[in-house]
Symmetry: C2
Subunit: 274 residues, 2 copies
Amino acid sequence: MAVEAPTYLGALQAFTPYEPEYVRMDTDDDGLIPESLERVLTAGNIKFIYLVPTFQNPTGRTIPLERRREIADIIKKYNALLVEDDPYGELRYRGRDIPPIKALAPDNVVYISTLSKVFAPGLRIGFCHAPDQISKWLVIVKQGTDLHTSTFNQALAAEYIAGGFLERHLPKIIDLYSPKQDAMLSALDTYFPKDFNWSRPEGGMFLWVEGPEGFDMEELYWQAVKRNVAFVPGRYFFSSRQEGIETMRLNYTMADEQTIDNSIKVLSEVIKTG
Amino acid sequence: MAVEAPTYLGALQAFTPYEPEYVRMDTDDDGLIPESLERVLTAGNIKFIYLVPTFQNPTGRTIPLERRREIADIIKKYNALLVEDDPYGELRYRGRDIPPIKALAPDNVVYISTLSKVFAPGLRIGFCHAPDQISKWLVIVKQGTDLHTSTFNQALAAEYIAGGFLERHLPKIIDLYSPKQDAMLSALDTYFPKDFNWSRPEGGMFLWVEGPEGFDMEELYWQAVKRNVAFVPGRYFFSSRQEGIETMRLNYTMADEQTIDNSIKVLSEVIKTG
């Protein structure tokens, strides 16, 4: 199977027990590079491609519409299957919505999403829109895995959505998260060394920071934790674990703005003093 | 891995994606035959044994205490790992409780159970008691599989149990199911041909019926469904699917007693007329 480098850690953890051979695709600030996808599909036997195209975990990056069209054309040309994971698409703070790749290549995409980031993670309610034949297989797989998702929670979620509560709740989450993202970006601008770079996503929950070549972000992690600041070292989001040594993922959704500012300041001090 | 023949269909469906080699163990009316277990453990590399020792699905059979002691001694002797699946143990209508194998060989058994048969299947709440090291692995596996079970449902179940509601609810289920089992056993005695045999379990949800050698229970299924009576042909509970052609599983928990009597009568008519 083909994955972005970096990609969502939890997806790697879910796939790995089935012992797939991960084929890595290149990314830049606009996410997956279409030429890299085409190269991978030409070279080998790819069962499916896994992508988080919008406000990606861990980078926060979003694939622009023009590139989505190229990706859709490529998967149609090679009759490839794409799993489009979209947990964060509704958490947009700026800019305009971009259609999912599913809308551009419906027969080649299994679109998956969740209520975890917009309603309640504790309900464990996700959903998917797959081509007909794959939907039938997924029902069988779901039965073999856990028989079914809690009917109680499914009914609760259905009432929540049908009653218009999700629509009314979304603006509240966006009003909550957006200033936190601003606070973190502004603190990074203020405190972080000039040879560090980071993403400026228009939504989602994460920022991706790249230090200078050779910088060991995991070493920084152990120093920062002593001062009660934690983040996820970036290399865990690479299928090889050999890449991304100089990267980190920051999450701005849990702390208040003052704590975010203080924490980025502490991180910058730890970077400077080693 | 080693499984009883027959064993729980849903377990086979859960294990099969990992492509295990199933090693089949012999059973009789008292469940797993300990000599068969020892033979299997001597012969090969068994990662774990899967058993439903109490009111087994599909046969309803329960392994007696003396045999449980033998099984416990064997798994200790070979330092083998047993997964003891016990969803039905609380549904006892007659006779005395028998301790789980977990109690006889605690370091060699992962005991698993569920609230699905005694509280509500729609909550999807199960639980397990495993040796320490395996518990740590299970936490990691659980995170990789689905991160966690719904916190909302876990809290709901905890309140239900702590409040004593489960204890008060159990007698009601037993009073509901026990006469249904009586009705089905009595209907089988009345209507079924003399060359058919069936189990008479002291609890649980299932009866296991064996027809004469060569009798095709799947053919009977298709005839019976035309008259609105369904059951599960027994061969689906064998890892090989080559065995159990002449067997069937009956479930008496869903229908009322009159319907049970009528349905067994219809089945017997279909058996007699072909």
